[in-house]
Symmetry: C2
Subunit: 82 residues, 2 copies
């Protein structure tokens, strides 16, 4: 059963409200050494079938639903094939 | 400048609405080989100072803000030390 990790990140220059708010709050809590926080979404996706077919399907999932091409980049990797 | 990746996952048995909704939508789109989707948050955190101090601070960030101990597990790793 192939398992993938899909990471959805914001493209360079796109505002990252979750990262910004987290950074501000951590600084208010006194973490003065903090320089930057950025936020990404991570989906762990378990599939049936062969790894090769599953890779094509995960690519299609990213394009059709998980990532918005206007603002997101995506990467994925096979983390388990059992 | 140490950079960490902090992953916030839901504990076993906690409902994962983002994962569930994503799974349902992907199935509606025709991805019939899909078995399971789970969602995690990923923070990339850049710090100033030494790696050792920064590790302690990141641990504290997880405990004080990033993870809710009632529902979340957290892991982190140093991904860059430059």
């Amino acid at each position: 059963m192939p398992v993938f990790e899909v990471r959805i990140t914001l493209k360079e220059g796109i505002v990252d409200p979750e990262g910004e708010n987290t950074k501000k709050t951590l600084q208010l809590l006194g973490f003065d050494d903090l320089k930057q926080v950025s936020f990404s979404k991570l989906y762990t996706i378990s599939m049936e079938g062969s790894g090769e077919t599953a890779i094509r399907e995960v690519e299609e999932m990213c394009r059709r639903l998980l990532a918005n091409p206007a603002i997101h980049n995506y990467t994925y990797r096979l983390i388990d094939e059992q």
